[in-house]
């Protein structure tokens, strides 16, 4: 065959157009959504009537009472510490489990399965539930909160890390593997260095999420600012509740900006 033989074929018509499945999927999704609204008897009229009542309720929070600010800040500090320790715990667990749960690094299919299922299990346990269990076992305070956050987010972090590790360039893995590196050496040389930036991003995201969650965990007795908010709400002390909510909001905003800044620096 010669290059000049590659003449255009006689017929100039295109082959039949492949079917586009998107309209079908959109229609099906809309149908399911409608069925759900119908089945749950969600009424949008109630929502309309309720707006006025909600307005009245929120107006009770108009005058935040900052008289106990120093105490609130201390409580917020405890909440932050809970979140930080939860994240460190998650990081430690994920650091060891993720390489086992990454298909390309796992030393055996069995190790891969076990690590995957452990991560799935941790992720499937809601942290609110875990906190309730740990509070019952360990008593009130920040420790059960940190443990609950740690277990739950270790599942997330481990899955994120494992998926990043699975995306490590095959060539880089072969490059290190062909020096004769064993499993721990593969992970430390081909694995973590290649995903360092992504991994830092995930850790910051989990920290951010844990700060928000730690504030809520107080509601079930796991210490920190959430517990105080729980108490003031039960006492219908709207002024103090508003102050607490504002402290939480400000902290979350600061953390958000700080982690965005850090992520930018890492890039």
């Amino acid at each position: 065959m010669n290059i000049h033989d590659l003449k255009p074929a006689r017929s100039q018509t295109l082959p039949p157009k492949p079917r586009n499945p998107i309209p079908v999927w959109v229609t099906a999704t809309l149908a399911v959504l409608w069925l759900i609204v119908w089945d749950l008897e969600i009424s949008f009229e109630t929502l309309a009537y309720g707006v006025e009542d909600m307005g009245e309720y929120f107006s009770r929070y108009r005058q935040p009472d900052f008289s106990n600010l120093s105490r609130y800040l201390e409580l917020m500090g405890i909440t932050l510490a809970t979140a930080l320790w939860g994240t460190v715990f998650a990081l430690l667990v994920a650091f060891f489990l993720a390489p086992l749960a990454a298909r390309n690094f796992a030393p055996s299919p069995l190790a891969y399965r076990i690590a995957r299922e452990m991560l799935n299990f941790m992720r499937a346990m809601p942290d609110l539930l875990l906190a309730l269990i740990f509070v019952a076992a360990l008593g009130l305070g920040p420790l059960p909160g940190a443990l609950a956050l740690g277990v739950h987010t270790a599942g997330f972090l481990g899955k994120f890390f494992a998926e990043s590790l699975e995306r490590v360039d095959k060539g880089v893995c072969e490059g290190v593997a062909s020096t004769g590196a064993n499993f721990p050496q593969m992970v430390m040389y081909a694995g973590w260095p290649s995903i360092l930036r992504e991994a830092m991003g995930y850790v910051l995201y989990i920290l951010d999420r844990n700060v928000r969650m730690a504030s809520v965990l107080g509601l079930v007795g796991a210490g920190g600012i959430g517990l105080a908010l729980h108490d003031t709400l039960r006492l219908f002390d709207y002024g103090q509740s508003a102050a607490l909510i504002l402290v939480i909001l400000a902290t979350i905003l600061i953390i958000d900006y700080a982690s965005a800044w850090l992520r930018g620096r890492l890039g």
Binding site: M1, N2, I3, D169, G171, V172, E174, G175, V176, A177, S178, T179, G180, A181, N182, F183, P184, Q185, V187, M188, Y189, A190, P193, S194, L196
Partner: protein, 259 residues
């Protein structure tokens, strides 16, 4: 004595593609062999079998008398280094750390996972970097280097393994002509000075002629030529690069006229 011995090796991939259809070859210790052939001829597969990146469907590959099998990959790979077309360095690590990677098989994981290396390993790495003339780039990040420099780091990593054999899978396919020349000269020099057996896959016929002791020509999974560069005539090249089912290939003649 032969450094590499390939005995009736076949390789069929799970998708049914038969990459190697019965290969027998002995490669002499300290020789420089170039494997030529069209894309898809099975050159890469053959090379990758030699350090266990692929396992043969049947047959056996032996390195210095030892069979390449899954249980002693670490041991085999400590003697068989590999250089890749895409360099395959760890981008984020420094040049010298990439070179030190070559020492991993010789050390247990305890110190190496903390990036701690013995003094003698540092000396080996330093020497390897000096061989490829990149001492001044030692602490640069690997991905900040040019293609030619990255390939030299790849060779330094291979040297740091203190191997018996270096396999190079199209080491110059992503490089400009000047860098290609440098890399080939470097591999040739390593072969001559250290007595390391070198096997290189190439697409450039002209480079093969100039650098090889022996040329193996492959086409669709079989060895179709085996000899020294002088024996590789125009008609031999036609057999190597022949495409299946095409008797009279005009574009082949045109392409080979300049080879």
């Amino acid at each position: 004595m032969s450094a590499i011995s390939i005995q009736s090796v076949t390789k069929r991939f799970p998708n049914g593609f038969e990459a190697l259809k019965g290969i027998d070859a002995e490669i002499k210790s300290g020789s420089f062999t170039v494997v030529l052939g069209p894309s898809g001829a099975g050159k890469s597969t053959l090379l990758r079998l030699m350090n266990g990146l692929e396992t043969p469907t049947s047959g056996e590959v032996r390195i210095g008398g030892e069979s390449v099998d899954a249980h002693k990959l670490r041991h085999i790979r400590s003697k068989v280094a590999m250089v890749f077309q895409q360099f395959n360095l760890v981008d984020r690590l420094s040049v010298v750390t990439n070179v030190l990677t070559g020492r991993l098989a010789h050390r247990s994981w305890v110190g190496s996972v903390f990036y701690l290396f013995r003094k003698e390993d540092m000396e080996i790495a330093q020497e390897a970097l000096a061989r490829v003339a990149l001492t001044d780039k030692a602490w640069n990040r690997a991905d900040k280097l040019s293609g030619g420099q990255q390939q030299r780091v790849g060779i330094a990593r291979a040297l740091a393994q203190q191997p018996k054999v270096i396999l190079a899978d199209e080491p110059v396919a992503s490089l400009d002509p000047v860098s290609s020349e440098e890399i080939m000269a470097l591999l040739r020099e390593i072969c001559d000075r250290d007595g390391i057996t070198v096997v290189v896959n190439l697409h450039q016929v002209e480079l093969a002629r100039r650098f090889a002791d022996r040329i193996i020509g492959m086409n669709s999974g079989k060895i179709v030529f085996d000899g020294n560069p002088e024996q590789m005539t125009q008609s031999v090249l036609r057999t190597i690069y022949q495409r299946e089912g095409i008797e009279d290939d005009n574009s082949l003649d045109m392409a080979l006229a300049y080879a």
